[in-house]
């Protein structure tokens, strides 16, 4: 009975992950391809879907704990599903932010061609994708590897900010647009952080080890 409940929870979480991942892709695509309709789809269509699903998964997880008193790995799985659920909902929020900045940027001329930003987004999306794959296949190694990639995204974010600062100094008319791009970049960086959280949660489910806050290095 509990096994069946957990299987349903996992299935719902995967659905949530698919929508959230898709939202990141769409919001970046909306910006680079200047597609306002796609940006609006993220804001008006996808975000409410993710919010609704988040509540449903939370309710189901609480019910599962109340009715079936999971223990050991089952308990870790249900507890982490609740955390991952919250993280995925945040990914949805971040994508919505990106889509909103995209809507402001689309009518204006580009400050520079979008090269680093999509690259950074691809890395963050791949991290999210791998973190979820690690959850599905209970692969702690892949989960740990996802966490290591967070530094790459942090580096790309810093690089984008540095580059845009030079643009802003060179031409103050680009300040407004550059700031918006910086905020998009920071939102992508947060997506990578959340993917890292998910990776850490997967390690906890599979190996019952806490690797957050560099816990292992401090041991």
């Amino acid at each position: 009975m509990l096994t069946k409940r957990i299987a349903i929870l996992k299935e719902q979480l995967l659905k949530m992950a698919n929508i959230a991942e898709d939202m990141v892709k769409k919001s970046i695509k909306a910006l680079t391809e200047k597609n306002e309709e796609l940006a609006r789809e993220v804001i008006e269509n996808d975000e409410p879907k993710v919010n609704k699903l988040e509540i449903k998964i939370d309710e189901n997880a609480i019910e599962t704990i109340a009715l079936f008193q999971p223990e050991a790995k089952d308990l870790r799985t249900v507890a982490m599903i609740m955390k991952i659920n919250g993280d995925l909902e945040r990914v949805g929020d971040l994508s919505t932010n990106i889509a909103q900045f995209a809507l402001q940027l689309i009518p204006q001329p580009d400050v520079k061609p979008y090269i680093d930003l999509p690259r950074m987004a691809d890395t963050a999306i791949k991290m999210l994708d791998d973190a979820i794959s690690a959850f599905v296949s209970q692969d702690a190694e892949l989960a740990r590897e996802v966490c290591k990639r967070d530094d790459i995204v942090d580096g790309l974010n810093q690089q984008i900010i540095r580059e845009l600062i030079t643009f802003m100094i060179g031409d103050p008319r680009t300040i407004n647009r550059s700031l918006q791009i910086i905020r998009i970049s920071e939102n992508i960086e947060r997506v990578a952080d959340l993917a890292t959280n998910i990776g850490e949660d997967v390690v906890y489910i599979v190996q019952s080890k806490v690797i957050k806050h560099h816990a292992e290095e401090n041991e």
Partner: protein
């Protein structure tokens, strides 16, 4: 669909009022768990659903219990037929001191079934449905007391379902079983609910949570709360229910 409708049920043992104006609707093909502290009237309520209290001296019952719309306390009801429809499994496994086979065949025979082949088939089907067949198929003619407690309890279920009841009442059916036998029993209940309406009295709150779709909380003869199990166990409406299931009193 409602299988059993209890309306304003009151029950006294002598001058002592045991059940106070209980009303509830029990849906068909579901499991209802009745929980509550000792002496709150759980078992008495359960027994009033197939008129088992009739035997008790000094009992007085008022109110109505409808089974498929027919009041089981109306004078024209044949109690023998009623108990065929509403079977019961007790706290302690109570097989007859006969063979495993006879334990099931006996009930069929007293209900007038004579066809040997049919009896044979029903014995096998009932044992299969009670998840016991594989364990006993090679020793059907051993004495039922040679089985373990958990097996005996599943034999009692097989015996109850052999006569094709519609409702099965269970009075703390796992209190004498070890955890593994309890788990097997709970899995069986999960399967049985596809075909039967089950009402189970249990002291084990977690068991109520695991096996039932509806839960009724009784306290000193009063129905405090009746709701879907997930609601009772995540957000009960009455503080007394909350206190009981969180172990603040027992």
């Amino acid at each position: 669909m409602v299988k059993i409708e209890v309306k304003d049920l009151k029950l006294w043992f002598g001058n002592k009022k045991i059940l106070k104006e209980i009303s509830m609707s029990i849906p068909e093909k579901s499991v209802l768990a009745i929980i509550g502290p000792s002496g709150c009237g759980k078992s008495t309520f359960l027994r009033s659903l197939n008129r088992m209290n009739d035997f008790i001296k000094g009992v007085k019952i008022e109110g109505k219990v409808y089974l498929d719309g027919k009041n089981i306390y109306s004078p024209d009801v044949n109690v023998f037929e009623l108990r065929k429809k509403v079977g019961m499994v007790f706290q302690k496994p109570n097989p007859f001191p006969k063979t495993i086979y006879e334990n099931i065949a006996y009930g069929l025979k007293i209900h007038g079934i004579k066809d040997k082949k049919m009896i044979q088939e029903t014995v096998e089907k009932s044992l299969r449905d009670a998840n016991l067949w594989n364990e006993v198929k090679d020793k059907l003619f051993d004495n039922a007391f040679s089985l373990s407690g958990g097996q005996q309890q599943r034999l009692c279920i097989a015996r109850a379902i052999a006569i094709k009841p519609e409702v099965i009442l269970m009075d703390e059916p796992t209190s004498a079983l070890d955890p593994i036998a309890t788990k097997r029993f709970e899995n069986l209940v999960e399967e049985l609910k596809k075909d039967y309406t089950i009402v189970i009295v249990t002291h084990n709150i977690q068991q109520a949570a695991r096996v039932s779709q509806y839960t009724a909380f009784l306290y000193v003869g009063e129905l405090i709360e009746f709701n879907r199990t997930e609601k009772i166990f995540t957000a009960p409406e009455d503080k007394r229910t909350e206190d009981y299931i969180t172990g603040k009193f027992s």
